[in-house]
């Protein structure tokens, strides 16, 4: 009996050791463009450590990442938002059980043109601007002029977080300009004196002016200590608890080394 147990133990151990061999080969990662820089940096480092693993990366957006997990066309689906109930139901109907891993944090920062004098806005003011109740900068103590509201497409992950945290689920005015990417917001705000928009922390440049929210700067420290109100988690989803290289890769991101790469990619590491 004892020998039998030992045998099984050895068998399991050898299986565990062998399993990376079994799964070695291709690892497919798809999804959010916000997570893409992180995935890129970490995938390169992981492949350098494990030369027999080939990782193929592509963007496409959070919705596509989760869709790829549901369809079984990827090992890891990236998303800049949590999975929606509808998507969980669609996955379960196909026998897929998505498992989320929070791999990094990101803060969303309201930005205005560098010429703008307004440097601090409350959450209520931000909400009223995006509801169309505040229309002129003079109502906020700035130089008189129409506020050009810039938002992201209603299905982007960044918009989802903005809507959840700032809008409190109320609707952004239809007259808001929508721009398809973080980079697009940067472009428009840079060139439009009356504009206000919002971007991920990694996209802040010198050509933009970041606005304090409730007197707090959107920065790494303030996100980690919880004082900055508009922040979100970045996720990787797998089908069921991961194994083999998928597990290896995700543990790598969550390691100290991986989180250092997260920081290099412009996002906020978890620790």
């Amino acid at each position: 009996m004892n020998r039998f147990a030992k045998l099984i133990f050895v068998l399991i151990i050898s299986l565990l050791i062998a399993s990376p061999e079994v799964f070695a080969g291709k690892l497919v990662i798809k999804g959010s463009t916000t997570v893409l820089p992180i995935a890129q940096k970490t995938a390169e480092a992981y492949m350098a450590q494990n030369p027999d693993v080939k990782i193929s990366l592509s963007g496409g957006g959070s919705g596509n990442g989760i869709k790829a997990i549901i369809d079984g066309t990827t090992n890891i689906g990236n998303a800049s938002r949590f999975i929606k109930t509808k998507e969980v139901n669609a996955a379960n109907a196909k026998g897929v059980y998505p498992v989320p891993f929070r791999i990094a944090l990101d803060a969303i920062v309201p930005v205005v043109n560098v010429k703008n004098k307004v440097s601090n806005l409350s959450m209520a003011q931000l909400k009223d601007i995006y509801l169309g109740k505040i229309k002129d900068w003079k109502e906020l103590g700035g130089t008189p002029g129409k506020i050009v509201v810039i938002s992201r497409d209603s299905s982007s992950g960044t918009f989802g977080v903005w809507k959840h945290l700032v809008m409190n689920k109320e609707r952004v005015i239809p007259g808001a300009l929508t721009v398809p990417s973080n980079g697009g917001v940067v472009q428009v705000v840079e060139k439009t004196p009356g504009a206000i928009g919002y971007v991920g922390l990694g996209y802040l440049t010198k050509e933009l002016k970041a606005v304090k929210v409730e007197g707090v700067y959107g920065s790494r420290e303030n996100t980690l200590n919880g004082s900055y109100p508009i922040s979100r988690g970045l996720f990787m989803f797998t089908n069921g608890w991961p194994a083999g290289d998928t597990m290896g890769y995700i543990s790598f991101i969550l390691s100290k080394k991986g989180q250092k790469l997260v920081e290099q990619a412009g996002s906020i590491p978890l620790f």
Binding site: G63, K86, S155, F159, G175, T178, Q187, K191
Partner: protein, 295 residues
Amino acid sequence: MKRQHIDKGVHSGFFLIALFSITALFLIMVFLFIESIPVFDHITIKEFIFGKYWYPTDDPADFGILALITGSVCVTLLSGMIAIPLGIMTAVYLAEIAPPKVAQIVKPVVELMASMPSVVIGFFAIVVVAPFIQKVFNIPVGLNMFNASLMLAFMAIPTICSISEDAVFCVPSALKEASFALGATHFETIIKVIIPAALSGICTAVILGLSRAIGETMVVLMAAGGAAMIPGSIFDPVRPLPATIAAEMAEAAFGSEHYHALFAIGLVLFGFTFIFNLVADYISYKFRQTGEASL
């Protein structure tokens, strides 16, 4: 005997190739229908077409595309107003007035404009045109209907110009000579004889140009501003149909109402371009100039 066999083989070979491309197109159409129908379980066609609010990710969501249709139609009309006169006049100039040496240079250049990637034009619209019209017209933002229309006109001109040029060029010279013989000036001949004679070709050119403008995606996505509202002036941002599909399809949850609604928008867009092409076909058939007697 053997040659007949080869001939038959060639026939069926070409038939298969033609069949393949038509089937592929047909299947895409079927797919478009199948994917868009489920959205009408949730809303009626009337609510979809005439609904004013497009909030696809809200709960409860609104799938009204009136603002999007208006956006598409306005942008296309405005671009037509810019592109049609320019395109036709360029065509007349090239076919009738320009010295052959100039035409030899200008014509390929105009046709080269058609091969400009639309993403480049969109980028140009954001970086150069937007700040420019912002300053010139003193408006708060340069990404709007006017900017997008200008860029679309720029893209439609080559189509309109090269097809109308062919039409003008093909007007029988006997007509022209008859007009000159009656003492008409060159200008009178162009206005009263050549343009009417080439009208069917010119109409086809205009409609094909506009159908290119309404289906164009990248430029309107980048330059139109993307606000899903019914525009009040030409300097308001709009969100045409193709831009909506392009911007939202990537992130729409697979199989959701939103996903199906985007396919339904595709269907509407397909309807627009289909009608445009049908009309172009009809006009070129109905008003075809056969011989010199029918003018």
